[in-house]
């Protein structure tokens, strides 16, 4: 029969029998969530179909206002109002303006945990694989059915093993690791797959970095990306008051493909436009001038990210003429950064620090780009026009690389500022 992967363990538990890749299963949902980019369409579908205008369990349904928040125009205000009215009517969990980005809210509040089956109406729902849950992104119709019926159908995905080996050097973050992986496999190299992380290097990778890595698994097309339960996750769960449980792949679990990366020699990575797999070592792109720097998003808006940026920015100033934007991914992260003086460092360096929102990452508000302008961003996609004009350019990098680039006004190697 063979051992089981993490994916098979979670989906077998949910299906109530041993499942195998390729099986079509119908599973109960532990959490279904949507944001102001996807909830309005779901609400509209429900209103037009009265037999679906219901909530299977208000405690397992969550709406977050995070994409264009607070409302930058009347259209967004209308969408937010629709969500508030729905939340009030059905008593679902609701997080309004400034609370945070949906995936971060779910992680911080323990709504996703080992063995959870989580559907989010956002492609970056994969973030929650860092908590050993099976979490995947869906559209408004699927989330409507999940909210209304409490279940969904899934095809059990083929598992891929990504083995991370070697000691991770201090200037390397989750962003460098996932960009290196996407460089190897390509933007469609993991389409439909369940990515499971293994290897000795995992013990060097923080929860914040794991969330970054799982978040961007979707940029290679993956259905989900999952870390096993270990001491680092158990500590995180205990801090948020969630009971831990063991979950890791059996030693004889079978994988369709295995990729192995030696992280000990990894250098800071940067993805150049127009696709996320156009990844190069930072030194190959050093000197590329930037007009804007953005540190934030569901990919890199966590505590560790701003701490890494502050290490470089302390006592330094952003280059004149470069607009620098920092947006923590949740109110609780914002508050911790505030208490620990990290926001002071960023502000003194010349950064504009905003409340939590997805904002610039999706070109919604708070810093769009004009024609031929260039940004170095810690977000997840560098498609043409995503953050502004169709002729603007997006380079993706870690917070440390973004901070070093802010100081120089051009893409820069963070190691110069970290005594390495």
């Amino acid at each position: 029969m063979g051992g089981m992967t993490i994916t098979e363990k979670i989906l077998s538990y949910k299906a109530g029998r041993r499942v195998y890749p390729g099986d079509l299963i119908v599973v109960g949902i532990d959490l279904a969530y949507a944001h102001d980019g996807t909830a309005p369409l779901a609400i509209q579908i429900m209103r037009e179909n009265p037999e679906l205008y219901r909530v299977f369990d208000p405690l397992k349904v969550l709406f977050v206002v995070d994409h264009a928040s607070p409302a930058p125009h009347v259209e967004a205000a209308k969408a937010h109002k629709m969500m508030r009215d729905f939340a009030r009517k059905f008593g679902i969990r609701f997080f309004d303006v400034g609370e945070g980005i949906c995936h971060q809210i779910v992680a911080e509040n323990g709504y996703a945990r080992p063995f959870s089956l989580v559907l989010g109406a956002d492609s970056h729902t994969t973030t929650l694989g860092a908590l050993s849950s099976f979490a995947t992104g869906v559209g408004s119709t699927d989330i409507t059915l999940a909210i209304s019926l409490g279940k969904s159908w899934l095809r059990v995905p083929e598992p891929v093993k990504v083995s991370l080996e070697g000691e991770v050097r201090p200037f390397i973050s989750g962003k460098d690791i996932i960009l290196r992986i996407i460089k190897e496999v390509g933007v469609d190299g993991l389409t439909y797959k369940a990515v499971e992380f293994h290897g000795d290097a995992i013990k060097y990778i923080s929860m914040d970095s794991r969330m970054t890595i799982c978040n961007m698994c979707v940029e290679a097309g993956a259905k989900t990306g999952i870390f096993p339960v270990d001491g680092i996750l158990l500590r995180y769960l205990s801090q948020i008051g969630v009971e831990g449980i063991e979950l890791e792949a059996d030693p004889d679990a079978e994988y369709d493909e295995i990729f192995s990366f030696d992280l000990s020699s990894l250098e800071p990575q940067v993805a150049e436009p127009p696709n996320v797999d156009r990844v190069r070592a930072v030194e190959e792109l050093e000197g590329t001038e930037v007009d804007q720097v953005f540190i934030g998003s569901c990919t890199n808006g966590r505590y560790e990210d701003f701490l890494a940026a502050a290490k470089i920015l302390r006592g330094r100033k952003a280059k004149d003429g470069v607009r620098c934007i920092a947006i923590p991914a949740s109110r609780s992260i914002y508050l911790k950064l505030l208490k620990d003086g990290v926001l002071n460092v960023l502000t003194e360096a010349g950064f504009f620090v905003a409340h939590s929102t997805c904002g610039p990452c999706i070109g919604a508000h708070l810093g769009l780009l004009g024609p031929n302008e260039t940004v170095i961003s810690t977000s997840n996609r560098n498609f043409p026009g995503r953050m502004g004009d169709k002729d603007s350019k997006i380079y993706l990098a870690s917070p440390a690389t973004a901070a070093a680039s802010a100081v120089e006004g051009r893409i820069a190697d963070p190691r110069k500022y970290l005594g390495d």
Partner: protein, 172 residues
């Protein structure tokens, strides 16, 4: 389900941002009709004026990568696109398209052989794709019964309304 239409030719890695960019989508978030002028705008200027009912999109690899925004396939369907044939699809886009009743078909030869404006014939049920202009035919793996049922209902919401449940039972 028989489809006949003109081809629009697109390349690899067409993202949901190409189809409907977030910067436009969030300006029209409470009314999908207001997003129409921006569909594929930065790839094919004035696409919404040029497209005709029944047209087919033929693309390369990884069509629909990126966001989970269902507005992307929904707007293409609203504009009259009757099917999308591509070398491969991103999974959320594929699932969203089926869910709203828009046939999305993975193929090998047709995307390579087709040029813009060619006339295509698609037999969805049997998985037969014909480029009438070039005389090229391709047999692809037909959809399973459940997906055909969803497409015939016009989407999974209509299916659930008609039959009271999801088309899949928990069977292997």
């Amino acid at each position: 389900m028989d489809i006949r239409g003109r081809a629009w030719k697109l390349g690899d890695n067409i993202s949901t941002d190409h189809i409907i960019s977030g910067k436009y989508k969030f300006k029209a978030i409470s009314s999908i009709q207001d997003m129409v002028p921006h569909v594929l705008e930065e790839v094919i200027p004035d696409f919404h004026l040029k497209v005709r009912k029944g047209d087919v999109i033929v693309a390369g690899r990884n069509f629909g990568m990126g966001s989970s925004r269902e507005h992307a396939p929904l707007l293409l369907k609203m504009l009259g696109i009757s099917a999308i044939i591509a070398g491969s699809f991103a999974r959320i886009f594929f699932r969203n398209s089926i869910n709203i009743g828009l046939p999305v078909i993975t193929a090998l030869r047709i995307p390579k052989a087709t040029e813009e404006g060619d006339i295509l014939h698609v037999d969805v049920e049997r998985g037969i794709l014909i480029n009438m202009s070039k005389g090229v035919e391709e047999q692809v793996k037909p959809y399973p019964r459940e997906i055909l049922d969803i497409l015939e209902c016009g989407g999974i919401i209509e299916y659930v309304k008609r039959y009271g449940d999801l088309p899949w039972q928990d069977t292997r």
